[in-house]
């Protein structure tokens, strides 16, 4: 009888790459259905064209280069689907076809395929077609969330991603299930909320300076602007932003692997998206911003490698230094262990 030998562990979690992709696709399905309902058949056409083009490209490339054909893992389909959601529904059908091809061929396989690519294939393709055929790719309208119900059904969504931010809730479920990491989306979201508020604060303070107000209490009171909602916020909190936060920024090969790095990356995403959005619009801003963040992702990763386990961090060292100076009889219980 021959047994199987392998290195430990001999039991693993069942989760695999295919599951991850399929669950992302499922998480996007409600949104697709809603988009098809509101935009009609053209939306369906774009989705199908993009997905088919992406999958066919993957099949073609892997056949030609004599690699294992991996269309079954759903990655090409996921890329195609995500791309379709970013194309205006009145674009001609060849746009999603070229887009799907470009995403898989250049975005994915030129860089070495799954896990090796550095730039999110969806964004690579989107940025390319957006700048190459801007006439077709300009969203019909740039929405903003005027009232709370707009989160349910976005007011004037220009792209399919926007029809209903609330339907992106599948993304939250993915985070809850730990299919995607929470650090990037949380940091990203927090930054996106914080920056408009900080702008509000800054503009309040600069206004006071301009008026020549000297009373420090007045400046202090500006702190309470954080309680108000910045007028910028409704422009930022749109479907495209949520889609970027939950689905694009969390694409794992394009974000750092270190824990600290992921937080930093989320913040960088937020800052870049906000800057672009502030000067232009948040729909394009989300994708251009994250694309630029992709470019710095690797650099962030290299600079946030953790130190050897048990190495004291700077605050710890300072704490230890201070504690060492206190005579032991005065010390609290906490240091008793040392």
């Amino acid at each position: 009888m021959t047994y199987t030998l392998s290195a430990p562990p001999h039991k693993k979690t069942r989760l695999d790459f295919k599951t991850l992709n399929i669950s992302k696709i499922i998480a996007l399905l409600p949104l697709c259905l809603a988009a098809i309902y509101f935009f009609g058949i053209p939306a369906l056409g774009i989705i199908i064209a993009s997905v088919v083009a992406a999958v066919a490209t993957e099949f073609g490339i892997q056949t030609i280069t004599k690699k294992k054909v991996t269309i079954a893992d759903g990655h090409a389909a996921l890329v195609g689907l995500m791309l379709a959601l970013l194309i205006p529904t009145d674009a001609p059908l060849w746009i999603p076809v070229v887009g799907g091809f470009f995403a898989i061929a250049v975005g994915k396989h030129v860089f070495g395929g799954v896990g090796s690519y550095i730039f999110n294939p969806v964004l690579v393709s989107w940025v390319f077609i957006r700048s190459a055929w801007s006439a077709y790719m300009t969203p019909a309208s740039i929405p903003h969330v005027g009232q709370f119900s707009d989160l349910l059904l976005e007011n004037g969504a220009g792209l399919m991603v926007g029809v209903s931010p609330i339907l992106l809730i599948g993304g939250l479920y993915l985070i809850y299930k730990r299919y995607v990491d929470w650090r990037v989306p949380v940091a990203f979201f927090a930054t996106m909320v914080a920056l408009p508020q900080i702008m509000l604060f800054i503009s309040g303070v600069t206004a006071l300076i301009h008026e020549g107000v000297l009373n420090p209490l007045m400046y202090m009171s500006q702190l309470f602007t954080f309680l108000d909602m910045s007028p910028e916020l409704p422009y930022a909190m749109i479907g495209a932003t949520f889609f970027g936060i939950l689905f694009i920024a969390t694409d794992t090969p394009t974000s750092p692997v270190t824990k600290k790095g992921r937080i930093v990356y989320g913040i960088v995403c937020g800052v870049l998206v906000f800057i672009y959005g502030y000067f232009s619009n948040y729909v394009d801003g989300v994708f251009y911003g994250i694309f630029l963040a992709n470019c710095v992702g690797s650099y962030i990763e290299i600079n946030t490698m953790p130190a050897s386990f048990g190495t004291m961090s700077l605050p710890e060292k300072i704490y230890r230094n201070i504690m060492d100076k206190i005579p032991s009889s005065l010390k609290f219980e906490v240091i008793e262990n040392e």
Binding site: M1, T2, Y3, T4, L5, S6, A7, P8, P9, H10, K11, K12, T13, L15, D16, F17, T19, L20, G112, G113, V114, G115, S116, R178, D181, T252, P253, T254, S255, P256, V257, T258, K259, R262, M305, P306, A307, S308, F309, G310, E333, V334, E336, N337, E338
Partner: protein
């Protein structure tokens, strides 16, 4: 509860002469000799070594290389057992002086389940031990080694005192697993020096020192979360005592001796009955719906243990020491050794044969790693043979818990790759002069800390 044993004698008993880290024992018997239960059959003059005893009475049929559950072969004494209980005389020696105790432990062949001879943990050369910890976070002992919870608690407590005596340590602690109600109940209210102890959970930054004060006792019983891993000692020490053990050092460098339940029990038996370490309890998984515990003689082949349960059906994988960090075996003729804690069987359809794909940088491995490594990075670097860079990102820190490989959705053999890198690094620096390699190799730098 009764301690279960094998129904019938194995056809042969294979006792490896290397059941501990350190010097391999020289065989004291040769082919054709008749040996008795408890007879010493292997021994080494080196300090860093431990004696090996026969677990049965019978005839030595070979002294040869034979399969060892750690995966490689080892010189072993093969004995054909007789149906007889003839043993060497066991003499309890309860009042040994502390100085003699270490020698006695070596003679009795007591070894920690992580491989190190117990006496070298208690009396490490050139270091002083002030605290002895018993790691009792595995709960398979009641009903296996110990008949009742009460017996479990009292014997382990006695053993701890013996260990402290041997080490000359003032303080001691027993660490239980916090979800293991049975053991916690057993220890709750146990009396030490006329004081009733409470099982205290290790929470937050309160470490063992706090509890010594709180309970006003030199011995405490604690509970903590379960941790796995092959090289967890440093991690465990830090968790319990708050003392950081640097890489390349072991707990003894910071004055802590970590012992297991198995060695504690063995010491208890050796002192109270004079019986050397020749039988052990293993848990068996995969033969029935639940975990089975059985006391077996050291040297019993896995096959006999499996047959004891009348296991039929195909076996895909046999694993020694648990599915998380254990070693898969290519034959069922490997013997149970002092370090064997568990035998796991997997049906062919249970065996994982996932093909690994490219790392998708999902960072799940980073999130689970208890020692803050970047396993994904280590894995690719090892794969590409960039061992120097592995070292730069602290590959030696890995406690080989295997969590990273277990959660990887790309099914990368991360732990295997890490071990590959460690092995290569060790090879590369083994022939370097000590001075040059001291900052590269795992030389101890704990000294003052």
């Amino acid at each position: 509860m009764e301690i279960k044993t094998l129904d019938k004698l194995p056809e042969k008993i294979i006792i490896p002469l290397r059941q501990h880290r350190g010097a391999v024992c020289e065989p004291l018997v040769k082919k054709g000799d008749r040996v008795l239960i408890g007879q010493k059959i292997g021994e080494s003059k080196e300090y860093y070594s431990s004696a090996v005893h026969s677990s049965v009475c019978g005839e030595v049929i070979a002294v040869e290389e034979s399969a060892h559950p750690d995966g490689n072969k080892a010189m072993s004494v093969v004995i054909q057992p007789e149906d007889s209980n003839e043993s060497v005389p066991f003499t309890p020696c309860k009042d040994l002086k502390p100085e003699k105790l270490a020698e006695f432990i070596k003679e009795s062949g007591i070894v920690e389940h992580y491989g190190v001879p117990t006496h070298t943990v208690l009396k490490p050369k050139g270091k002083k031990i002030d605290t002895v910890l018993i790691n009792a976070t595995s709960s398979e002992w009641i009903g296996g080694t110990f008949k009742t919870p009460k017996e479990y608690a009292s014997q382990v407590m006695d053993a701890l005192k013996l260990l402290m005596k041997a080490a000359g340590a003032k303080k001691g602690a027993i660490v239980l697993r916090d979800d293991d109600k049975e053991s916690i109940d057993a220890f709750e209210g146990i009396e030490v020096d006329k004081k009733k102890l409470r099982v205290a959970p290790l929470v937050g930054s309160r470490k063992v020192g706090y509890y010594y004060r709180e309970q006003n006792s030199d011995i405490v019983v604690l509970s903590q979360k379960r941790i796995y891993g092959k090289r967890i000692l440093n991690f465990f020490t830090y968790n319990v005592t708050g003392r950081k053990v640097k890489i390349g050092c072991d707990p003894t460098d910071v004055g802590v001796a970590v012992c297991g339940i198995k060695s504690a029990k063995a010491l208890y038996d050796a002192v109270n009955e004079g019986k050397p370490f020749f039988d052990t309890v293993v848990s068996v998984e995969g033969v029935s719906d639940k975990m089975e515990y059985i006391s077996v003689k050291i040297g019993t082949p896995f096959k006999d243990v499996i047959d004891h349960y009348g296991h039929t059906g195909d076996i895909g994988k046999i694993i020694a020491n648990g599915v998380r960090s254990g070693v898969a075996q290519y034959t069922d003729q490997v013997p149970v050794t002092k370090g064997t804690t568990r035998i796991s069987l997997q049906k062919p359809e249970e065996v994982i044969r996932d093909e690994s794909m490219e790392c998708i940088h999902c960072a799940r491995c980073v999130d689970v790693c208890p020692v803050e490594l970047i396993p994904a990075r280590l894995a690719v670097m090892a794969d590409q043979g960039r061992f120097d860079e592995c070292r730069q990102i602290h590959v030696e820190n890995c406690i080989e818990c295997g969590d990273c490989a277990a959660v990887c959705p790309s099914k990368i053999y991360i732990l295997q790759l890490i071990r590959y890198a460690k092995d290569a690094i060790e090879m590369a620096y083994s022939d370097m002069p000590a001075k040059e390699s001291s900052n590269l190799k795992l030389g101890c730098g704990c000294g003052g800390e």
